[in-house]
């Protein structure tokens, strides 16, 4: 959604960002309903298969193997109709920014063969430092892409039910379920707050007023969304929710699911052997 009124304004910027956030949250459910390679598979197969690939990614000792898993994740995403743009904006940018900040010192602090000296700073980029940072970045990017595959190709309720099949404790599953609902409530509440503020604001806000508003909004938002998510849990309890996820659709393994499970197992075993 694009707001035509003062597009550069602080409130308008926040409202637009919140709309985009809401769209992103809803995008996952829409994407899970599309026709693609992974979408029709049994949720248990995807949970087991993708988690095993994440495990192999985390323990792999060869950069080439992790890079191959990354390529596999990208191919699976494209075949599941998750676009390159979605991967770049939702996964890789965040990975690069947050993991990059952690990996950056390793480039210069890891002892080894000098590759480049930063002029005037006495910092030496080493070959070993570059490899260490590469491992970290590639591992995180691959794991995050695989995790996104699960969330974007499976309705959230099915993911939760599959986790219960694998004996993940009820408390953990409830917390995951509530976390998803909490994020949505937080975004909706924030959106309402900023829209209501916009309706009562004339002219642009100066920097101090923006700061004051941001601080005040954060506190109010946290309180309101906490209270709302508490109420959501009460409403679930009122309709007999006891922690178990019950769905109309029963999980049933079809031929394609067994084939996919074998495919995931084969890939994970091959990657574990190659990356040892």
């Amino acid at each position: 959604m694009r707001l035509l009124d003062r597009p550069g304004g602080f409130l308008e910027g926040n409202i637009e960002a919140l709309h985009a956030g809401l769209e992103r949250v809803l995008h996952a459910e829409n994407s899970a309903a599309r026709r693609g390679l992974l979408q029709p598979l049994d949720a248990r197969v995807k949970v087991a298969g993708l988690l095993s690939l994440i495990l192999v990614t985390a323990t792999g000792k060869r950069l080439g193997t992790i890079a191959a898993l990354f390529a596999l994740a990208v191919v699976l995403a494209l075949l599941s109709r998750i676009s390159f743009r979605v991967l770049a904006t939702r996964v890789w940018t965040g990975t690069l920014v947050f993991t990059g900040a952690i990996a950056l010192p390793a480039l210069f602090l890891t002892p080894g063969t000098a590759l480049y000296r930063v002029p005037g700073l006495q910092w030496t980029l080493t070959s070993q430092g570059l490899t260490t940072a590469g491992y970290l970045l590639l591992r995180v990017a691959t794991s995050a892409t695989l995790a996104l595959l699960l969330v974007f190709t499976t309705p959230w309720a099915h993911v939760l039910k599959a986790l219960r099949v694998f004996r993940v404790p009820v408390v953990f599953v409830v917390i995951l379920g509530m976390a998803a609902r909490y994020i949505l409530l937080l975004l909706e509440t924030a959106l309402e707050m900023f829209e209501s503020r916009k309706s009562r604001t004339v002219g642009a806000l100066d920097r101090a007023a923006r700061r004051r508003m941001a601080v005040a909004s954060a506190g109010v938002l946290l309180n309101r969304s906490l209270q709302l998510s508490g109420d959501v849990y009460l409403a679930m309890q009122a309709r007999a929710f006891r922690g178990e996820v019950c769905l109309l659709d029963d999980f049933a393994m079809k031929r394609i699911d067994w084939l996919a499970l074998a495919g995931f197992a084969g890939c994970a075993a091959a990657a574990a052997w190659a990356g040892r």
């Binding site: 809803l26 309720a157 709302l228 109420d231 409403a235 679930m236 009122a238 019950c246 109309l248 029963d250």
Partner: protein
């Protein structure tokens, strides 16, 4: 037989007392309105009656059995109680947490372990009955407020509970939706069910209740038939359910009289 009884019940949110030593009883099969201004303790009482909150002191009984946290820890009692008692929250947003309207209405029956073909049939019937069949595949939190309210109500009434607790069911609805909702509630169960409605809309009282309990500051201020309560102007003013409305006549005379939204006091008012 008594449906609900509370005895010297107290409930606090931190330092704020919401229910202060409340003693009341509600008969099986009755239609009761909990009337009170904002903050009088109506919503808290409904949550206590639904076994979601538990009083700090005092007792609550449902058909003679104590409603305690320990009893809800066991599946048998919890499922049996949830099968019999349904609560519709004031804010429909808190009741809508499923990906589609159909899933939302199916949530309760599935939790109660109903057979899946029955769930599908009952949910479809409920959607038709509430005029929301065309919304079955929509995302609930993207609906209009009135539609959300209908989905929230359908998600509880699909369970066909013997006892229905309603928190401000007509709040923030347009007049047509209000009247449709009240008709639906009046028709529901052919009048054989128990309905407890929290409201501060005095105009709805005679339609939705045959007995009123007026709450004020978490205490029972009065009880009686709706007509009796509506006639007691001093009580309504004391409980902040009506306010003095001041206006100027053409002659210049300033006139003030009790006022409520929408008005249903004596015609002479």
């Amino acid at each position: 037989m008594m449906l609900f009884e509370t005895e010297r019940l107290t409930y606090r949110y931190g330092n704020v007392t919401a229910i202060a030593g409340l003693t009341l009883s509600i008969r099986e099969g009755s239609r009761v309105a909990l009337v009170g201004a904002n903050g009088s303790g109506k919503s808290t009482l409904l949550r206590i009656l639904d076994g979601l909150y538990f009083g700090e002191t005092g007792a609550v009984r449902f058909r003679g059995e104590a409603l305690t946290e320990d009893r809800f820890a066991g599946d048998e009692f919890a499922f049996s109680f949830r099968r019999q008692v349904g609560l519709v929250f004031q804010n429909p947003d808190v009741q809508l947490f499923n990906p589609t309207v159909f899933d939302e209405v199916a949530f309760g029956p599935l939790q109660l372990g109903w057979p899946k073909p029955d769930v599908r049939q009952r949910v479809s019937e409920a959607l038709d009955r509430f005029g929301i069949a065309h919304l079955r595949d929509r995302v609930p939190h993207r609906l209009s407020f009135g539609e959300k309210k209908r989905v929230a109500l359908a998600s509880v009434l699909v369970l066909d509970p013997a006892v229905l607790l309603l928190d401000e069911p007509t709040a923030a609805l347009d007049p047509r939706s209000q009247s449709q909702l009240i008709d639906l509630l009046v028709e529901w169960g052919g009048g054989a069910k128990s309905v407890i409605t929290a409201t501060h809309h005095l105009g709805d009282l005679e339609d939705i209740a045959d007995r009123c309990l007026v709450l004020d500051g978490g205490r029972l201020a009065a009880e009686g038939a709706p007509a009796e309560i509506l006639r007691d102007r001093a009580l309504l003013e004391r409980s902040n359910l009506v306010h003095a409305h001041r206006h100027r006549h053409r002659s210049g005379e300033v006139h003030s009289h009790p006022h409520m939204h929408p008005g249903k006091l004596d015609p002479g008012d």
